[in-house]
Each structure stands twice: as structure tokens, then as C-alpha cells.
Symmetry: C2
Amino acid sequence: MATNEKPKPTYSEIAEVAGVSEATVSRVLNGDERVHPDRVKAVKKAVEKLGYRRNRIAAALASGKSRLIAIVIEDDLGLFSDPFWASVSSGVSKVLMENELQTLLMVTASNQVDGPVAHYLEGGEVDGAIFFQMHKDALVKKLAKQGLPVVIAGSPHKDAGLAYVDTDNYGGGKQATQHLFNVGCKRVAAITGDTGATAGRLRLDGFVSACKLNKYEVPNSYIAHGDYSYESGRDQMTKLLAMKERPDGVFVANDLMAVGAIKAIRDAGFNCPEDIKIVGFDDSMLAQTSRPELTSVRQDIEKLGETVANLMI
Amino acid sequence: MATNEKPKPTYSEIAEVAGVSEATVSRVLNGDERVHPDRVKAVKKAVEKLGYRRNRIAAALASGKSRLIAIVIEDDLGLFSDPFWASVSSGVSKVLMENELQTLLMVTASNQVDGPVAHYLEGGEVDGAIFFQMHKDALVKKLAKQGLPVVIAGSPHKDAGLAYVDTDNYGGGKQATQHLFNVGCKRVAAITGDTGATAGRLRLDGFVSACKLNKYEVPNSYIAHGDYSYESGRDQMTKLLAMKERPDGVFVANDLMAVGAIKAIRDAGFNCPEDIKIVGFDDSMLAQTSRPELTSVRQDIEKLGETVANLMI
DNA sequence: ACGACAGGTGAAACCGATTTCACAGACATC
DNA sequence: GATGTCTGTGAAATCGGTTTCACCTGTCGT
């Protein structure tokens, strides 16, 4: 180990071997058109021969571009355990990698977002940031204003000119709800996500729209408010079940809550889907694997991640 | 924007304000003991005043330490969709962040691991690498030999002196199997994971051990070999069900397969757990949310991630 | 033919820290 | 009082690329 020196070729060596200057080496490696073909060939040959590998750190320092994209996730509710975001991350990472970009994963408690994460992001050592279902608009806007490319996966609270990618929340909610009517439900209810956020509101809007379309008037009490967590799904469903006129079909704004809702139904001694039908949102692995199988609106998750990444690029 | 210049303080400015040299600034910021308290105070004050933020990239270049740890995941089977790994990642990221380290997420198809990923890792721009259930021992060993700190989450094929962290596969397998005997199963079978890998083998060993303990001789045909995927769980279970003497209890080496197995059982017209009992391994969100609830051996997943990260540090 | 112009090229500055090295003083030793 | 540590400190080199800028060609226009 000690005796075996590592070559670790640098520009200067390549330049020497190829008989050109370091500047030219840089030009070739960065695809500058204006270099004479002969030299391009010479440099490439030297690179090949020496097994050169560019040092991204040095490059980053000199050029001011780190080629690093951060993924920021709030993990209060075990959010990242939701296969949905994991899949998105996966898609993002793949696409970025194909584009010679690195993915920085920042999982953090939401109350700490303003601390280390903000600190880091503002430091300008990242070329872009992708936020997952981020509720702290302030930070995002601030970063965007600083000129940092920002993409939000999942809708931001208000469309403040921020780039975002999301699944079709409105259409999905509508479609899911329509499904309930199609299978004959008469008393349709909903368990919403965080309606303070765009995504949650749109899903609810879709629900309401479908109800109108079916000339069905939703009682206010039939709209229960959850927060996307398993527990909230369970609890809200329990509340719905306790009503005199129980709903016979429920649109739940994400799969995690839907599974919680099913749990509540079973615990209360009812059957799903015989007594009460549940339709979720996401069609995650969760929906596919839970028993009884959960009907869910499909979302092309990895594709979403890929779109996010491409948008970033 | 154009008119508003960003200060972006550097060492030289701090040095000037504090009336010391850049070298001293560096020493203070890196906690060098040998600096006179007065200057330390002066520097800290200047840092505060200017709102200085260290440029990690420059630091990385100069010191040769990138403070970046890579997480490498093969994503052939939608592995990352398995909440298990997502949770581990989450734990890793949190701990690393607390230690001022960044997490680089590299999701890649396993046939591409040797390409870009290996290339990158060998480039030495990462201070360490964490592999998730990596089967390519060759690459891992090579990196380790190059002096790169490597930790494997999940057991490596052979214990080649590589650091690894894993759940108690043997104990878990044993415990899970024992549970089947405890609830009265007479014909106990297993669906294994990849027994070519240590984790899979150990879980099976635990199973066998528990069988011996209960003086139960497992028929060879009762040991079905899966590959941790949902499909394989389903298919292997179907195989088991087709036997003349059906098992009445099955230990399945992970939850994903277990859910697949339950699916197969239901599809075949049986009930779970009435007719056949299934016990999984991981106790992931999957186990908690699927219906009927899947009995599973608990694994403290985030803790695992944290352990991995700490080991790396 | 001669200045203008454009394409190529290399020397050197630069990015922002870290780290080596040499050198003052303060203090102890003989 | 001369010599010898030990501390604390700053100037300068360094990390490995990128980028500016000046300059040197050869070609074109007239």
C-alpha cells in the first residue's frame, strides 16, 4: 500500500503527454469547439492512456458549479417511509446521474429546515434544490430569489412563480370519486389531506367536482380532514363511522391514510369493501400490497421523479 | 438583482477585519487549540459580523476531504420502493447531517454499478460509501482496498473483513419461526430470500434452528427459494400450496414476499391466518398496513441507518 | 501588399480554503 | 549572557481545474 504510489493524473500531465497546454486540455474535456481536431485527438489519447479522471471538486471550485442537486425532505411523519417519495427520489437520482449530476439527500425534521439545511442551501454550494412537499414557502421563495433553481415536487401553497411538478391532483381526485359513484355508492365522504396546501385542496376540489357531476350533495360532516398520516386516516375514518348515517364510500387523499381508514373500518367490525368502499390516491406499493387490495388512482411515480429532474436540468 | 451585489465574505476579508492572517482564521474555524484566545475572539466576532459561511468545496479541494458519503443502491427490483431502505436512508442522512457530512444518493441499475458509479467512487471524491444490499462484492472490496471507508448495510456474501451492519438475521429468523410453533403450526415451511447472500442464509439458518429446537424435521420441499420480490413470494407460495400436504405455517424472509405470499393464499381460496399462518421479516410499514395484518419480526430500521452512519464516522 | 479579422493557443491569474514552513518572541537551561 | 526549546503566527505554496487575456497565425478584402 505504502510502496504502491497512485498515479492520479492531472491536467499538467495530460498536457505534457499530449504536447499542449493545460488550457487546451480543459477546452477539449469541456467540448470547446474551437480546438483543432488534431489536438483534440492527442488530448483524448493522452486521457485514455493515463486513465485520467476529472476531479469534480477542483472543477467545482474553479467554475463555481458544483453539479450537485439537493433533495430536501421533511421527515416528521415518517414521510420518507412513504414509498411514494422514495420512488420519486429514485427517479430523480437516476436522471440526474445520467446527466452527470449528483444527488444530495437531505432528510430533516421540519423544525430544523430553517437551520442547517437553509444554511447549507444558501451557501450556494448546490446548483439546485428539489423540495418534496415542502410547506415552508418562505425558504423556497428566498432561495429562488437568490437565483437558485428550485423545483417543487408536489404543489406549493401558492403559485408564486415557482416551478413545480405534481401529479394531476384535481383529475385524480375527481376520477377516484367518480369510481365510487360508478360502483354504486350513495353516501360518499372524503378524508382530505392538508387542504392548506395546493395538492390537498386540488384533490378535494376534484372530489367535490365529481360529487356535483353526480348531483350528489356532500354533507359538510362527510368531509374529514386528515394530514396524510396513517394515524389521521384511521382516526378520521373512526369519526365518520361514528355518524348516524355512515358513508358507504370514502375517497381518501393518499394511500397511507387509506390504509389507516381500512384499519379503522375493520376495527369497528365492518368489512371493506362490502360495507364501505375506500378509494385511495397514489397507487403506491402500499395499495398494491395491502389486503384487501386498495383501489387507488394511479400515479406514475418514478416518471414524476424523472420529470422533476429534467425540469431541474 | 444585478445591482445588488452579494457580499460573500471570504477568509481574506475576515482576516482583514479581525486583524489576523488567513492562516489564523483557518485555525480558529477548525478548532486549532494553539491560537491565542484574544484572536479567537476577534476572528469569531468578524465571522459573526460578516455572516461568513465556509465554502465547503474550496475546503474539500484544499484538504482532500469532501465530507461526502455516498449511499449506493441497486434498484433493479424497485428495491428502493421497499420502505425498508428508504427508512434506512433517512436514518443515515440524519446522522450524517448532524455530523456535518453530506449524503450522496446514488440509485442505479445493478448492471450499471460497474460503470458510472464505480468510476465515481474510485475517483476518490467521496469520503466513504454505504452499500445497501450490494451483491457485487468485487467492487466493494476493491474500494475498501483503495482505502475508502466502506460500510455495508445488510450482510456481504462473505465476511471479507468488511464492515457491515445488519439486523439480527439469525435471531430474527429463529424468533419468527418459533412464533409459528407457538401458535400451534404443525407443518412449517419457509420461503427464503437469496440464500447466496449472508442475510438470506442466516435467516434460513435461524429457521432451521428453530425447527430443530421443536424437534420438527423440515421436508426439503418445504423450503422454497425466493428473491425478496413481491412476485417471488407469490409464486413460491403458490408452489407450496400446490403440494399434497400443505404447510400450515410459513416463515417468509421479508415482508414484501410475505405480502406476495398472502396474495397467493387468498387467490387460492384459502384464508390467512385461519388456514395458513405467515410470519414475515422486517416489520416494515408494509407489515403494519397490510390486511390481514402481517406478523413480522421487528427490526429497528432507522436505528439501523443511524448505526450505519455512526460506524462510517 | 497591407491592415483587418477570426480562429487557435498558451501563460498566468484565479476559485477559496488548508497546510507547510520559517520565523519572531517568551521562557527555560547552563 | 549565550544557547536552546516551545508557542503562536503569517507569508506563501498548494489543491486541480477553469477562464481571461494577450498573442500569434493564416486568410480575406481592396
